[in-house]
Symmetry: C2
Subunit: 456 residues, 2 copies
């Protein structure tokens, strides 16, 4: 055992101040979700591996934390798989459960399991921790908090619009400027792939687009050209990607060059959405961005990614999209959904760097009572109780030690007030209160101390 | 993969109502902790096994969830240990981390790791989940929430008293009657064991006492007699245990029969505590109970256990005690602490069985807007926004489906109000609001709808 215990790499301890600041963000996100009629649920940290691996298959082993079966079950370890280097099978033989890596798989499992108790459309939000066995690095953690809102069981375009409202309300309440939502549509990407003749390589197309943020647009363009022998089409597409377009321009280009009569529903949907967003001046800036792909996620419709212009190095602070088949794997079909997620850890970083946490978030130290001995504490116990009932936070210093040491403690911990009641105060029937910020002392008669102090 | 996904045995999904009720309890506990000047921290769910096993040694394997090392590390599995049935060593070779099983070991690790940032006495509370690989059974879960308050770095008897205040304030705020705190003192048990001549069997003594709740007092007494050949002493002790005594009687008996001049400090301490508690009429009932032992926990001083007279089958709903050596294993010596824990899951059960959750805890469904088509929604979008800003929760039904179906949804989900604004309302420039509980409809002019509605 180590003599210097530490928290594991990739995890964090939250001291009182950090925790209060995280709660500030969470409370804003929660209040916005609630104001749109989402209800909060919680699911267990642990899910069956059969549930978790439904989404990623054996690739999941790379980032799922697997839990060793307890008790006698360890005897069932499949050693021959180990010897044959079939490590996935070996792990399966000793692990039935794992820690959830997102809140979407648990949502799909929840909706499928409780479908008879739920009325659809089902609007839920969930703010809980998830775990990923990624290699820990700066700003990337093995345990972190996700804040998700989803609607399952409706195809309405009003929800595509509502997701934009949620993003806008949250980031405006957090007083973040220059936040921008990029949107695109999986069906648009499909149509483009089809039009330029790489429909059968759709996966590869998505993965390449997704690399733009990492390796730059020119490199991606070159990779495209070397993979698919269609230089003209690619030049044209990348011109569109580079010249990020307004909503109407995006639609115009799509209609002219990539979409056909068969895509009437898609065009309709985009027109409706653009119409709604243009009318609402309270929304964040929206970029219609043909390069947005959102990786190998399960999205089938509109996709979103939110970031801050001035802090693009931090990456996306929100994302989401529409998905069609999320619960299909769990035997619940035709259940379209849409959802978004806020990245708490990155939002925290941004608020911190920009000094945007409200000044009144402190560790909450309010009043300290100097300890002159049990007798004196006992004499003002009733007052202390009354102040607590009135919502004040009172720390009674537990030990009767030197006054100077007690004041040092109070200084270190930023108490606002110190209550002084010792021998001489007792004789005079008074209580002294020192304001630790101004240094001023005020004297109260003991019999009406609580009332008078609370009036201040 | 199973077609019927479920949450793992021993874990739970929390629907919106259950979650709100859990929050109600947590908020009361949090507010009481805060009112005594405790600050909240959070620690990671995952700790190094070297930290976790510090407390329980290899016994921990019985109830610690161990996490398999990710990536290539699985290759280091110690197969020869497995073959030799040394399963603990086998697990150690593939697992460096585990899920915490309480909040006390993380506290000890936190205090030791951050000792230079903390000022002592350190008053912290923590409300987080813990995991135990116990066999799941009714009322016993593998993932559950603990609510702990601790003070580290002070020996003051004021803290023994403060723990009683915390228990009392929380259970009174929860409106629970007939809650009783049993207290005893580890040093008293020590003195008794010494006096009756079984000092060297102190562990066994504790374990036997602890079995009273399970197998009954007579059986324990007989076990005592067959283990230790001191029938007279045991008869005498059990007479005291059976006749649960008042504070002063407890002290009197101890002074007469078990404590000597050497125990002056202990007697002093008990006298002080009894004096303080007798003065405070706001405390829960206190039983001085010589049979309370608190198992093999790390306690070294006063111990507490809280239960409800009328629901003793549910067991303890709070517990705690003073410990001397908690951080010693982590290289931080002479750091006495004291702490208590509230059992959220059992408190929940009791409030539920006794109908003690406030009636105003609902799933929080407030207002639903009937969907007559995007055009109409769009017309009253401004009003909806204003109501949201004013703190109202508004669910816009996403699909323009049959009115009756929308009302069915609203009924099922207990919305208080339904906003009706369709073609005829649009023509008349009015908005209708139906109170879903009374069935009454009210009509507002659209131009001052928000204001008038909010005034109601």
């Amino acid at each position: 055992m180590s003599n210097k215990p530490t928290n594991p790499k990739g995890t964090r301890d939250f001291n009182p101040l950090t925790l209060q600041r995280r709660r500030y963000i969470i409370n804003i996100i929660r209040s916005v979700f609630l104001s749109y009629g989402y209800n909060e649920i919680e699911t267990p940290s642990i899910e069956n591996r059969s549930t978790l691996y439904q989404k990623y298959g054996s690739d999941g082993d790379k980032f799922i934390f697997n839990i060793i079966n307890s008790g006698e079950k360890i005897r069932k370890a499949d050693i021959s798989s180990f010897n044959n280097k079939k490590f996935n099978d070996f792990i399966s033989s000793i692990s039935e459960k794992g820690l959830r890596f997102d809140l979407t798989v648990p949502l799909a499992r929840y909706v499928s399991q409780h479908q008879n108790e739920i009325s659809f459309p089902f609007k839920r939000f969930q703010i809980q921790n998830v775990w990923r066995a990624d290699r820990p690095q700066k700003g990337r953690f093995q345990e972190f908090t996700q804040c998700d809102a989803d609607v399952v069981g409706s195809n309405s375009i009003l929800l595509e619009y509502e997701m934009l409202q949620l993003f806008s309300d949250v980031f405006k309440k957090l007083k973040l400027d220059n936040v921008r939502v990029r949107i695109n549509h999986r069906k648009v990407l499909n149509a483009i792939a089809k039009k330029i003749g790489i429909k059968d390589n759709f996966h590869e197309f998505i993965i390449l687009l997704d690399k733009i943020d990492k390796i730059g647009i020119e490199n991606v363009k070159n990779e495209f050209k070397s993979k698919f022998q269609i230089n003209n089409e690619i030049d044209k597409l990348f011109e569109l990607i580079i010249n990020k377009s307004s909503a109407n321009n995006y639609l115009e280009v799509l209609k002219n060059d990539y979409l056909s009569e068969n895509d009437k529903d898609l065009i309709n949907e985009l027109e409706l959405l653009i119409d709604m967003t243009e009318k609402n001046k309270d929304l964040l800036e929206i970029d219609y961005d043909l390069s947005l792909a959102r990786g190998l996620e399960y999205y089938t419709g509109l996709i979103y990614e939110v970031s801050m212009d001035s802090m693009s190095e931090i990456g996306s602070i929100g994302a989401g999209g529409r998905y069609k088949d999320l619960t299909e794997a769990f035997n619940l079909k035709d259940n379209s959904g849409i959802g978004i997620s806020f990245g708490l850890e990155r939002i925290y970083l941004i608020l911190e760097k920009n000094g945007l946490f409200p000044k009144n978030i402190t560790i909450g130290n309010d009043i300290m009572v100097i300890n002159f001995g049990n007798k004196y504490i006992s004499n003002i116990a009733k007052n202390i109780n009354q102040l607590r009932l009135a919502g004040r936070k009172i720390f009674v210093y537990p030990d009767n030690i030197k006054l100077s040491k007690q004041f040092t403690y109070s200084d270190k911990n930023d108490f606002k007030y110190v209550i002084i009641y010792g021998e001489s105060e007792n004789e005079k029937n008074i209580v002294k209160v020192r304001n630790m910020f101004s240094g001023k002392e005020e004297i109260f008669e003991i019999e009406n101390f609580t009332k008078s102090f609370l009036k201040k």
